[in-house]
Structure formats: C-alpha cells, structure tokens
C-alpha cells in the first residue's frame, strides 16, 4: 500500500497535494449527522402530521416514541464515529428515516387498530421501537465486532449450513409452530412464547455471505471452464452443483413453506452474485430459466401458488376461485384515493386493506403520502441500493465486492417484489417491506444488512495508512 515515492505533507508543503489527501480522507461524519438530523426532523413532522390528521391532538406518547427513536439513531451515529469513521455517510440516515417512518405508520395504524382485519394493539408501536432497538443493536454489534469484513470469508460453509438450516426449519416443524394464522400452506415462522421469528429473513444474509465466500474461490473455474454453444458460454456440468443446490433451496421454500416471494429473492440473489463473480451472462439465463420453470410447475401443482397467479391476472373477479383478490383491490383503491399528494398521514382509510400493517404497508403510504410520498420512499430505497453498489465498486477485495453487490441487489429485489406485488406489476407474494413493515425479524435483519454495508463502505473509503516518511531519514512504520 505505501509508496516510497509519495511525498509527505510535511516535506512537500504543496497545498495541492495536501488538499488531495484531505479529500480522500474526509470521514464525512458531519454530513452523516446533518442528514440524520434531517431524517429525525422528517420523522418528527410525520408524527405531528399523524396527530393532527387523526384527531387534531398531539399525545405525549408520540414524544416518547420520538425521543426513543432519537436516542437509538444517536447511539448508532456515535458508534459509527468511533468504530467505522469512514463509513458511507448516507446509509445510516436513509435507514433511520425509513425505520422512523415505519414506526410512525405503525403508530398511525395502531391508533385505528380495531378497524383492521387483523387487529393491532396499541402496544404495537412500543414493540416496533423495541425491534428497532434490537436492529440498531445488531448494527452496532456488526460495526464493533466485525472490524474487517474479510473474516466472514472464513465461515463460508458454516454460514451456508446455518442459512439452509434456517430455511428448512419451519418446513420441518409442525404447522402449529411454523404456520401463519389465516394463510394455509404458508409455513415461514417460529412461534415461541408469544413471539414470532421469521428465520428466512436472517437466512438471506447468511447465505449471501456464504455465496460470496464460495464464489470468490470458484469464480475462475466457473468463468473459464466450459464450452461455447450458440454464442453463450455454458459452464461444465460439475460446476452446476452450487446453482442446483440454491435452486433446490428456493424450490423447497416455494413448495413446503408457500413463500414464493422469498424464494424469488433467494434465487435472484444467487444468480446475481454468480453473474458478479463470473461476468458470464449464461448464468443469468440459466438461473432465470430454472426459476421460471420451477415457479410455473409449482403454480400448476400447488394450489397456493396457482392462486397468486390467478389473483394477479384477475383481481377484480367477484370470487377467489376466479382470481378475485379483495386485499389487492383494496390496496389499489387506497393508493388511487391518495392520488398525487395523498390524504395526509392519519387522513386516509388504510384500515380497509387486509394486512396493511405488514405486506401492504406500501399502499398505506401511497394513500396517505400520495404519489409524491411513495416516489420519495422508492428513491430512498434506490439511494440505499446505490450507496451499496458504490461501496461494491470502490471496495478492493473481491469477497467484499461480491458481498456488497449481492446484499444491495437483494434489497433492491425485495423492494421490487413487494412493491411490484402490491401495485399489481407482478404477482403478489407476501414478503415484508424492508424497514417499513410492522414486525421484528424483517426490521432486525434489515438493520443487520445496513450494518454489514456500513462496515464494507468503511473498509472501502478508509484511506491507506499514511506513510510516515521523510526523505533522508529512516522510515518508521507502525504496525497496529
């Protein structure tokens, strides 16, 4: 890293060189703080908006929630300052803004919780804040404990095994523990002592790290060995192993747990990472074809998959056999009633949509913040993904590159699948909206993802150790 020819600031006294070095080394923590204050301000305004929109009244509860939120993001900021001073300055504020808006929406929906098809208790907001605390706690833990992202590479197979186990667990358990009340055929959670946990949310992260570790090792053989057919480089049959395992895992999800959305996200994640590692388009094609064939077959074989397709094609049908989807239509109607500028937080009727607090939270935002607000939300997601991709490009070691690119793409894919689903762009598959949906696992896992990205971006932006060098003198190198 160090270069013997690099002049030291002390020696050169050249202002130009000095500035150049400063530019590279700026940690931008003050930018992060400014943006964080901005994000907190928006959340505060959103709370006030909800208060006036619901009943022209601000409650002290709101102040408590807001204060709790400020304390949490404040801690996160201080931890970043201490343990990841060169982390991307936008990741934390963007995630905090989404999380804050999610808390506000939970509060707003819980205020009319009795009207919901799946009622919410008033304590939902407290829980949402609690989950935020756990999520930010994990964010902090990642920054403090994982000082160098490359150490994760050591646990490639461990993480892979953990990921697959987490996926398989709900399918193996009886549906009294893993079933989702009200949606037969769906087994995606662990219900223990009143708390529910969705292991797949964490499996996604473990598998992303595992894929990255595996592909870094195998990328050359995957990219170079093989034969060229019709202008496409086909891999060797024996190298198809890992993609078949991933495909099997995603089909397992699809068939035994009824979770098409997450299975699509898994498949997309793996294929994207394969492509990143090998730069070979054939992997994209193979992965895409495998998924489409699998999903199509499943839609013919398993009713709960077929229903999704029918609902997508004919949501307005009068009964569910013909595809009619009350939930989807109510969500669309809600977004339509919001129009361009929305009804204002607390001013709409999001409670008419089934499961508006989780899968359909985007329609609640669409209704109350309008097209303008929803576009802003999508842009926030887009910015997080962009910061992640930027990190992937600037980070130097291939494992970190793969991990950052894969995680960013997974976030984008998840947003695409759920937002596209509720807006009837693609068949609806019930997955959570990162940061916004009510519920713990998704929120905690999303923070974990941001933590890893922050750590990676810190590595990427951290300046090389400044060579302590003065011409004519003995060079002293400190090793930390």
């Amino acid at each position: 890293m160090s270069s013997v020819t690099a002049p030291t600031p002390a020696a050169s006294h050249g202002p130009g060189v000095d500035e150049q070095l400063d530019l590279v080394m700026r940690s931008r923590r003050r930018t992060e703080l400014t943006m964080l204050i901005f994000a907190v301000g928006i959340v505060a305004f959103a709370f006030i908006n909800v208060g006036y929109g619901l009943n022209n009244h601000l409650s002290s509860k709101m102040a408590e929630y807001l204060l709790g939120f400020i304390v949490l993001v404040g801690i996160a900021h201080l931890v970043v300052r201490r343990w990841a001073p060169f982390a991307d300055p936008l990741l934390l504020p963007l995630a905090a803004l989404l999380n804050g808006l999610g808390v506000v929406m939970t509060y707003r929906l819980a205020a009319q919780g009795k009207l919901l098809n799946v009622p919410m208790s008033a304590s939902a907001t407290t829980y949402q804040l609690l989950y935020s605390a756990i999520g930010i706690g994990l964010f902090v833990a990642v920054l403090v404990l994982v000082r160098e992202p490359r150490v994760l590479q050591r646990y490639t197979y461990t993480l892979g095994a953990i990921g697959l186990a987490l996926i398989a667990l709900p399918a193996l358990l009886p549906s009294s523990i893993s079933g989702v009340p009200g949606s037969p055929g769906t087994k995606i959670q662990l219900r223990l002592a009143g708390f529910t946990l969705q292991p797949e949310e964490f499996a996604k992260l473990a598998l992303a790290a595992s894929f990255a570790g595996y592909l870094v090792v195998k990328r050359d053989v995957l990219a170079l060995a093989g034969r060229r057919v019709l202008g496409i480089d086909l891999p060797r049959a024996r190298d198809l192993g890992p993609i078949l395992v991933a495909w099997a895992a995603s089909l397992l999800l699809l068939v035994f747990e009824g979770d098409i959305g997450t299975s699509a996200v898994f498949m997309g994640l793996f294929v994207a990472m394969l492509y990143l590692a090998t730069s070979r388009t054939s992997w994209l094609l193979i992965g895409f074809l495998l998924f489409v064939v699998g999903a199509f077959t499943a839609s013919k074989l398993f009713s709960h998959v077929g229903v999704r397709f029918a609902a997508w094609l004919h949501p307005y049908a009068s009964n569910e056999i013909n595809g009619g989807s009350f939930q989807l239509v109510k969500g669309l109607e809600g977004m339509a009633s919001g129009g361009l500028l929305g009804k204002g937080l607390g001013g709409g009727q999001p409670y008419l949509t089934t499961l508006v607090q989780s899968d359909f939270v985007i329609t609640a935002f669409g209704e109350e913040l309008g097209l303008a607000g929803l576009m802003a939300l999508l842009l926030i997601y887009g910015l997080i993904v962009q910061r992640g991709m930027r990190t992937a490009i600037s980070v130097k070691d291939p494992f970190s590159k793969l991990l950052a690119g894969g995680l960013s793409f997974m976030l984008a894919l998840q947003v695409f699948v759920i937002v596209g689903g509720v807006t009837r762009l693609i068949p609806l598959t019930g997955i959570t909206t990162p940061f916004l949906s009510q519920g713990g696992s998704s929120l905690v896992a999303s923070w974990l993802l941001i933590g890893v990205l922050a750590r990676l971006s810190d590595t990427a932006r951290r300046p090389p150790p400044r060579p302590i060098q003065d011409e004519g003198l003995t060079q002293v190198v400190t090793v930390r």
Binding site: F326, Q349, L352, L374, L378, G382, Q386, L425
Partner: protein
Amino acid sequence: MNRALKRLSLAVLVMFVVLLININYLQGFDTAKLAALPGNTRALEAQNQYQRGEILTSDGVIIAESKPSNDPIYKYQRYYPQGPLYAAVTGYDSLYSASGIENSEDSVLAGNNSSLAIRNFIDLITGKQHKGANVTTTINSKAQEAAYAGLQQALQGTSRVGAVVALDPATGKILAMVSFPSYDPNLLATHDGTTLNANDKKTLRAAGNPRLNHAINDLFPPGSTFKIVTSSAFFNASTANNPQTTVDSPTQLTLPQTTHVLTNDQGEACGNGSGRTTLIQAFLQSCDTTFGKIGMNLGGNTLNNEAQAFGVNNQSLKIPMPVTASNYTIPPGLALTAFSAIGQFDDQVTPLQEAMFAAAIANGGKLMTPYLVQNVTASDLSTVTTTQQTMLNQAVSPSVATNVGQMMDAAVQNPGGTAFAFNKNNEGGIDIAGKTGTAQNGVHNTGLNDAVFTAFAPFGNPKIAVGVIIQGGGYGATAAAPIAVQVIKAYLATLGIR
C-alpha cells in the same frame, strides 16, 4: 467485476424505474377507474372525515348538516334535523350509498367538484379545513310542511301512498316535494354497520315502500286531469275552437268495434242532457263521454304529441335526480283512444308531471324545466353556481293556455264544477284554478280509485302550481284537492297574498 457491478446497477435502476412508472400510472392516471370500482366504499366513508356541506331550503331552513361526532373513526355525523319531512328532497347519505340531493349533488357537498378546485387549492395552502359546499334548494319550508301535514292526515295508518309536488310556474322551481310514507334519513346516517344494515332492511321492507320517491319515481293513472291535455289538443286542432264551442256530450257513448258503453261517473247527463253542450261545461263537469269522443276524433297520435309537449314520455328529465318518465302509449284502436283521452288505458304520470300540467297552463303555455337546486355556495359563502331557469318546452300557445286556464278556473269556481264542493268558502278569496281526477285502478278496476288534483293559483297571477296524487283516495275533489289548497295557501301566505 466492476463491469458486472455497473451492469447490475443498471438492472436495479430499470427495476426502480419500472416501479416508479407503475405507481405513476396507478396514482396519476388510473385513479378515476379505481375510485369507480363497484366495491369501493372509500369515497363514501371518507365523507364522514370532514364537514360535508349543508342542504337548505330557499328560506334558510337547514335540512341536512354534518356535526362533529365523538366517534373514534369518523369525525362528522350527518344529521337531518327535520327527519322524514324532507326525505324526498335530501335523500340519505349512508356509509355505502346515497340518494336524493345527497347523491345527485354529492360532488359539491363533498367539496371535490371541479368548480371548487381553485377554492380547495387556496384552502390547502392557507391550511383551512376542507369543507364541502352548501346546496340551497328551491323548497319553501311552509309549502313543504303543509304538503307533508296534508298527506299525513290523508294516509297515516294506511298502507297506501301519495305525493305532492308544487312548482313555481314562472321559473320551474320546485317549491314542495313530499312523498308519503316517508322515512327518517337519520336512520341510514348511522356509522354503525350492524345498525345501518338493520335500518336499511327495515325501511326497504316497510309498507308503502318509503325509500321510493313517489313524487318523481312512481307512476299513477292521471284520470280526468288528462283532460287538460285532450282540451289543449282540441284547441290546437282549430283556432275556431274555444271553451264556448258546442261539442257532443252523450250520456252514453258506445265505443266503436266493441259493445262497451262509456258513461259518465254516476251515469249522469252532461250539460242539460240534450246531447250537446259547451266544452267548458263538459270540462268543469268532467264528462268522460265528451272527452272520449273528442279523443277519438283527434286520434292517438295527436294526443301523444300533445302529451309529450307537456313533458310526458321524457326519459331524460333530471331535477337533478332522474325523474321516471310519465307514459302515454298510442292506443291500438279507437275504443282505447277514448279511454286514453280521459286518462285511463296506459296513461301513467308522476305527481311531478301533474304539477307540470298546471304549471304550463299557468305560465301561458311555457313549461319551465323543474329544478330543485337553487344555488351552490362554497364554505366561504361565495356563490359557486346558480341554476339558470330554462324552458323545457312551449307546451301550448298562450291563447290555448288562456282557454284551458279559464276552464280549470271554472272547475273550481263554478257551482257545477267538480272541485267546487271544497271551495264553497272561496278559500279566503284566493282564486284557484284546477282539475280533478279520479282514476280507476286495479285489475278490472276493482281497486280503490286514485285521487288526483292539479291546480294553480292565484288565477289572475299564478304563483304556484300543485300536483297531488293520493293512491286509493277516492274522488280527487275530496281527497287530493284539500291538500293542494293547504299547500297553495301556505305558500301564498309567505308571499303576502291571502
């Protein structure tokens, strides 16, 4: 690997752009279609989240308003202070549906009519609470109360129905509109779904179908009041015809191609029994034989044209609620033409149409389009729209109108007139002109006769035209006319005419 990352970033960009385009389409262009989906109750539910406009009578009585409510969900409660009295006018506004003015004028009452767009925008900027516009109707509260009281007296406790409509002949303003039996719209304004369903069923199943506006959406045979149309057609046929023209008035009229004999009501002679009498005598006495004969001479087509000139068969009349078209069918054959000329056969009219007969005559033949909404005022009390009065049709020429009016006056003022009996005291000096009708009803005319009365007053300077129909009321003069007189007196009193 950076090249692949850049390509993947582009793919992500495409994904987000597709999402953005899709939500732009949904929330920017597809809103009207989604809002109009059959199961979409949002618009109706949203109405209770802000203050909906008031509905008022022309003399300032509030007949529908929104009051702040203590309900945890809905901030406002729709309230109808007068209950059943104005139900035919206001209609109701429930969580799931609406009727009457509440339905027809919904966009202004809700405040989202395009005419209010600029005001709404200013309110948005200045942070003023959204509030619907007020609708002032043409209804006169005194006339409405008199009409309701009259119908209540005649029909309370029976399962029969009736309706009164009063018009200002010169403008077409609807001064009173009552349908009986009525219902309390407050029952349907409740925010409680279970109660609403129960009340909905109860009012829909109640005797006399109170939810149907009998004044504009129910049809009755006009009976002898249709002789106004037949007379108008007779005068139209020749300028030589006038009320003093001598016409055939047989005591019995044998109908062609049948053995059926048409007689007058009690088989009495028409005029002096000579078989010939003046038209005015036949009109005031309401001789069926005379008008049956005139009808046969004129023919079904002529009667049809004349009836349509008065607004019969008009499928598109809106006040702004859609009005059921009154019906005249050209009869197949002379015998039935005779019946159709005296308001039988397939002749069917709404009570509003009855009022329009008298209104056209009273206004020199000019039939003004009836309307119920006088103006719309925004929440800042500035006028948004005012209904312009328009002529629906020149029903008859002014001279014909004078002739028919003269005969209608005679029917009430002449001691031999069918409506003289109730007018012995001359009603405090108000000169009322009118025509009674007693329509046979039911299968083979076994039902009770419907009582019909159409009138205008004062004769010299008409200010009000009234149509009354009492199902099963018996003679028009006995059951319907007194109600019309009460309405006329109540309204003229507000104008200072007594």
